[in-house]
């Protein structure tokens, strides 16, 4: 699959949006879907549909196998050791809530500390906040440096002997900073602290290797990874899934149910209560297939080239200020324009067919720290081209013209 032709795999680009070609630069929010994924959903519902794992009839058996095939595909893609370390959730947000809730239940008590960073998305802060409120634990934040980046040292500084878990993003959805997870995990483990990684932004853009990173938990958002909405993946080391209590309760995750007690099923069923997102899981196999066909190395190179090209364009555009200049950066170009509010930018760009996002991108703490209420963000997907970034730049110029800048 040639990366230059990849746009053709995404039917959405065949349609005009308000009479413009769509320049989609909002992939950090959610990616577009390749036809193979949409077709898979269609075929599953129209030819093969059944619920998973509960009936012995033909369609149910087939669906169960397809469902489990995706688990294997994900395991391989992220190089997890065991298939049962892959838990399907409704999204990355649920994956993080699952860990915060169950780890919190079992291991956290008043006075314990959790270490986050100032880069974290609300989804990797609010679940921990609940523990602060309900259990009296404390949340510390590793602080960003002047580049909007977090180094191993920034993390080390904030670790205390009460730190019980570290929860950090792999790739910031605002500054694009790629954090040194492997080193952080090594450090944390040397002090007996487990590490949860918010991999929402990294999983679609970087080579995944759980065994190498050695982190304890990793949260992935499938809809940002060319997959269907309503689906996420929690990777967790087997020892944790064995050890932690179940999260939601319902059908499919139990062993035996009596009036006075209940015992829970094996992994990963223990964490997959109720009817799962069957069609979405099955279709996500096609997203993984699609990524495998491109080859993650090609994808990384393509997106890096684009990122560099875009950074240079915007740097040269006066009155545009890029946010964040981290050591390693991926897939995200956040910026402000002097005297023009990000919402006005987004509205004007939209009129030219250029879809970006404006706001705090669910990172209010980071924006507070940067002294901003909002920023504009253009984010990349595999289907983008230099042409798209040229159009972004042109449209920014249009924006400046309207505001007489």
């Amino acid at each position: 699959m040639k990366i230059e032709n990849i746009k053709k795999e995404f039917p959405i680009f065949n349609n005009k949006v308000q009479n413009n070609d769509l320049v989609y630069l909002d992939s950090a929010n959610s990616s577009q879907k390749p036809l193979v994924v949409v077709d898979r959903i269609y075929d599953f519902y129209t030819k093969e549909f059944s619920n998973v794992g509960r009936s012995v009839h033909y369609l149910a058996v087939a669906a169960t196998n397809l469902y489990e095939n995706t688990r294997s595909a994900v395991q391989k893609y992220i190089n997890a050791k065991h298939k049962n370390e892959i838990v399907f959730t409704k999204g990355a947000t649920e994956a993080i809530n699952l860990v915060a809730n169950t780890f919190g239940q079992k291991y956290l008590k008043e006075g314990d500390e959790i270490l986050l960073t100032e880069l974290e998305h609300h989804s990797n802060y609010v679940p921990w906040h609940y523990l602060r409120k309900n259990k009296g634990i404390k949340i510390n934040f590793a602080e960003i440096d002047e580049h909007g980046d977090i180094s191993l040292e920034d993390i080390e500084k904030q670790i205390t002997n009460r730190t019980k878990i570290i929860a950090i993003t792999h790739l910031s959805n605002v500054t694009g900073a790629i954090l040194p997870i492997k080193e952080i995990t090594e450090l944390a483990h040397s002090k007996g602290i487990p590490v949860l990684v918010d991999g929402c932004q990294s999983a679609p853009h970087m080579k995944m290797n759980m065994q190498d990173l050695d982190c304890d938990f990793y949260a992935i958002s499938c809809h940002k990874m060319y997959g269907p909405t309503g689906l996420g993946v929690l990777y967790a080391k087997k020892k944790w899934l064995d050890d932690l209590p179940p999260y939601q309760g319902g059908g499919g995750m139990i062993n035996e149910v009596k009036k006075d007690d209940i015992s829970f099923g094996e992994l990963p069923n223990k964490f997959e209560a109720g009817t799962m997102a069957t069609a979405q899981v099955i279709a996500f196999n096609e997203s993984i297939n699609f990524l495998n066909k491109i080859g993650v190395e090609n994808l990384v190179k393509h997106e890096n080239d684009l990122l560099n090209y875009g950074e240079e364009l915007l740097r040269k555009n006066n009155s545009v200020k890029l946010i964040g200049n981290p050591r390693k950066k991926g897939a995200v170009l956040s910026f402000t324009i002097d005297g023009i509010h990000p919402h006005d930018i987004a509205t004007i760009l939209d009129e030219d067919g250029v879809a970006i996002r404006a706001g705090h991108h669910c990172c209010q703490i980071l924006h507070d720290k940067l002294g901003l209420t909002a920023s504009a963000r253009a984010s990349l997907g595999v289907y983008n081209s230099k042409d798209d970034l040229d159009k972004l730049n042109e449209s920014i110029n249009n924006c400046k013209k309207i505001f007489n800048k």
Binding site: I340, H341, H343, D344, T347, G359, H360, T373, A374, I402
Partner: protein, 153 residues
């Protein structure tokens, strides 16, 4: 083209140089507004005199051109209005932003109406309606003495 309607000169002007910006000392009512989605914020200060007339009004805030311009224009024309009249104007303005073609009130001069109508361009931008109405909701709640922060989403 719609953008021209949205970003008329008067909006760009009020957006860039908002009138009545900043807190004044002897206000006797205030209210905050917040749009959690985009982070826009406004804090409205109001002095009603003994006859329930708007003696002075100002705001602090951060936001896009639309929300700043809307607060600026609103505070400008609320000065000297009675509480009752202010409420009617708010209502009629919100009607216009949401659906009506016109601002249906005798309490405003034609040129004041024209100014307000310049905000009507947001009709075509559903996500931006909240920008235009944030300060108006805050004023409304200041007049009602609501304690709660207004949020629009």
């Amino acid at each position: 083209m719609n953008l021209k309607e949205l970003y008329q000169e008067i909006i760009l002007d009020h957006g860039k140089n908002p009138r009545n910006l900043g807190k004044f000392d002897n206000f006797n009512k205030d209210a905050k507004g917040h749009n959690p989605l985009c982070g826009d914020k406004v804090h409205l200060f109001l002095k009603l005199d003994e006859n329930k007339k708007v003696n002075d009004i100002s705001f602090e805030g951060e936001g896009c051109a639309i929300s700043m311009a809307s607060a600026s224009i609103m505070t400008d024309l609320m000065k000297g209005k009675s509480e009752k009249d202010a409420k009617e104007i708010i209502e009629k303005f919100l009607d216009m932003i949401k659906e009506k073609d016109d601002i249906d009130t005798k309490l405003l001069e034609e040129d004041e109406k024209t100014k307000l109508m310049s905000l009507g361009g947001v009709k075509n931008y559903p996500m931006r309606v909240k920008c235009a109405t944030l300060s108006w909701h805050a004023l409304s709640s200041a007049l009602e003495d609501f304690q709660k922060e207004v949020t629009t989403e």
